[in-house]
Point group: C2
Chain length 435, copies 2
């Protein structure tokens, strides 16, 4: 006697029925909303197990405050439009549940989170974010097991920094390097056309505190040996001032101008960030980085007496939906969808990862990795993906990065500017006393 496959599937899937909660965390990207759209649209395909679809406002912080919205009240067009809307449509946070530094607060937070989950019958929880966020998801997964609250927890990868391990790359990364490489091409055309015999230098500062993936990505603008960028300074490789100045001089002698890309977290030989303002700390206690380009400008102008200008793209680079990579959006949506399918299939405690099948032609799929393998592990540029002198990524990096920026989008426009989705954010009635 054979059981009908459909019948078996239905039994497994109907094991756990309840509500879904999705939230976003950490620094936004151009495509983190695309992942949320992927979660929501896939969730809609499983009405037999997913009853209500909720969004948590401002990540874990909003959930602690029971600030949930009813996604079913949003227009389907608004959800589709999230695929082209930068930033975190649900709001985000940098809040960390830290059992080491603040054990009592962390214990209280966990209790409160599970009060919210249980009160609203959250059985499927999806958290889109980077290292810290995957760590939070991992803790929630283990707490759920410990507390006997059956809930499927799946992390959705997100970070422009591309520093998550185990995934081939991170959604958000392709878009930031597409925008930055485009900017390098355009700025180089400008600076090159202005260059006189006196020469000139332009230093473009991009994000990347520890890992140089973002800075490295601008190499894609270099189609010919003479093209910019001429020098890329990665946070992984200690700044060699003499070698750098020599390289600037050689480049200006050859081409009359020199385009330098610097990752904001560039460090000196002693490991100190050259652009750090140590008088100011961010929410995690790291020094605020703001000045790598300015410091380099001082060095180049001061020691070579060369006309030098700076560009600091800042938040503009991670929010540049108007220049997003088509592949990046597609993968971000797919990661959201894969997370929901994994949860519906009974998985919990995993992050969705992107697996590269081949580079030429580029083919990919998604898979799962235990959250514990991801949390708080940073993935750096391999040293053998950079030239020996350390000033440019090599062909191994180019093979890796090139496919990630391909594909353009036909973005909705209004009056010559992008039209982004704005959610209605209809609140779910609070049932708990304030935190």
């Amino acid at each position: 006697m054979w059981a009908k496959p459909g019948h078996i599937l239905l039994e497994i899937m109907s094991e756990l029925v309840g509500n879904l909660l999705v939230a976003q965390s950490g620094g936004p990207t151009a495509v983190i909303n695309a992942s949320v759209a992927g979660v929501i649209q896939e969730a809609g395909r499983h009405p037999e197990v997913i009853e209500e679809i909720y969004g948590g406002l401002n990540g874990i912080l909003g959930i602690l405050n029971e600030e949930l919205i009813d996604i079913q009240e949003e227009k389907r067009n608004s959800i589709e439009g999230l695929k082209h809307t930068p930033a975190a449509a649900l709001g985000t946070c940098r809040y960390k549940i830290d059992f080491k530094k603040k054990p009592e607060q962390a214990a209280r937070d966990m209790d409160r989170l599970f009060q919210v989950f249980q009160t609203h019958n959250i059985r499927f929880f999806f958290y889109a974010g980077g290292n810290d966020s995957q760590d939070t998801a991992d803790k929630i997964h283990h707490e759920a097991v410990k507390r006997g609250w059956e809930m499927r927890v799946i992390g959705v990868p997100k970070t422009i920094d591309n520093d998550l391990p185990h995934t081939d790359h991170c959604p958000g990364y392709g878009s930031v390097i597409k925008y930055n490489a485009t900017t390098v091409m355009e700025v180089a055309a400008d600076v090159g056309s202005m260059a006189t015999d006196d020469g000139s230098c332009c230093i473009i500062e991009v994000m990347g505190r520890a890992a140089g993936w973002i800075a490295a990505g601008t190499i894609l603008a270099k189609r010919h040996p003479a093209d910019a960028p001429h020098i890329i300074l990665l946070p992984e490789i200690p700044f060699n001032e003499a070698g750098f100045l020599q390289k600037v001089k050689e480049t200006v002698a050859a081409h009359r101008y020199c385009i330098v890309v610097v990752g904001e977290g560039l460090k000196d030989a002693g490991g100190k960030e050259i652009g750090a303002d140590h008088t100011r700390l961010d929410a995690f206690g790291h020094p605020v980085l703001s000045g790598a380009a300015e410091v380099l400008e001082e060095i180049v102008h001061g020691k070579l007496n060369l006309k030098t200008r700076t560009v600091k793209l800042g938040y503009a680079q991670r929010a540049a939906a108007h220049c997003a990579s088509g592949l990046d959006v597609e993968e971000a949506v797919a990661c959201g969808g894969a997370a929901v399918r994994a949860a519906v299939e009974g998985k919990s405690g995993f992050m969705v990862k992107i697996v590269r099948i081949s580079s030429k032609p580029y083919r990919w799929t998604t898979d799962l990795q235990p959250l514990g393998d991801i949390a708080n592990v940073e993935h750096f540029m391999p040293r053998d993906w950079v030239t020996e002198d350390g000033f440019l990524p090599n062909e191994k990096f180019v093979e890796f990065a090139q496919p990630l920026i391909e594909g353009d989008l036909d973005l909705p426009q209004e009056g010559g500017l992008p039209r982004f989705s704005v959610l209605e954010k209809v609140r779910i009635e609070k049932k708990l006393p304030p935190r």
Copy 2:
């Protein structure tokens, strides 16, 4: 007896036959090459009077060095591609023929220029640039008359700063404000989604030394009263620190974040640029501006203890062909074409200007203005286009600016990045001794 009109026209047009020289000057824009394409393509329609088409490398500086290229050696596709290529494809310069400060050098330069014109039988000269460049064109026009060298000199307007008088606006301006407004929308989405109760502020520095047109243009990102930009600081309006801080506080109280756009040339009540580094001067002896955003960041962070970040778009904004305005490209091409038609019709000593026929719907045409009316005159934002408190442009400005950013372009791409035209630059044989 009636003369045939065609016959008369032919007689006038055949009056002057010779070669054409086109060159670019000053800071590049996203569309200055589109004007050159307009000149070249229109010139091709007048083979009866325009024999050879030459490009002058690096503006007046290259012409002084007899560095001319043969445009007929360029591919037609390369010329068409100039419409989507930022920067100055022919190279540019900031060289000024200054009879006041350097009379002897200026006299020598003029002699040399006319040696080059006469040696290469230049009878049609087109110079695309801003105030200084129109001044140069004006001087060349008068010198030609004085020297009895029959040559038609027409200026083609170009400047992101939008500070040329008599023209409704300048080619290059629509594209820079489209890119900057897009960036403001994207950064605002990012900062807004990160905002916690502590609040945050982001200061975006844009170009504009004397005139605030570029900063003002970002108002187009503001579709609703709560939208960014919340404050726009114009160089024309002396910085009122107390009023500014009060406005930042009110904005953060209302929206939890505040987006400030500042024109790099913002001045204090004493007329001193707040971001000027007076230890460094540019080619014209003006202090290098680099720090308005940083100065404001210090003020906001220091006095309000508010998390504050900066973005400095620098050259990226004027080179952003990937986000150019369709109308701007169309008008830039048309200005180039109109310049050639005017010259062929016998005009000299004029700049092409854009004339607005109506705003809703936007309709326009081109006309001519004597170069003497343009040279060295700066056109500022009218005070009654700005709100009384001076912190935002009003609806009069919006009506003016809105049409200028409309229309998108289908840009040629390669590997996920723009494909720009690169000219072959086949040199014309030098016939003069070196300068």
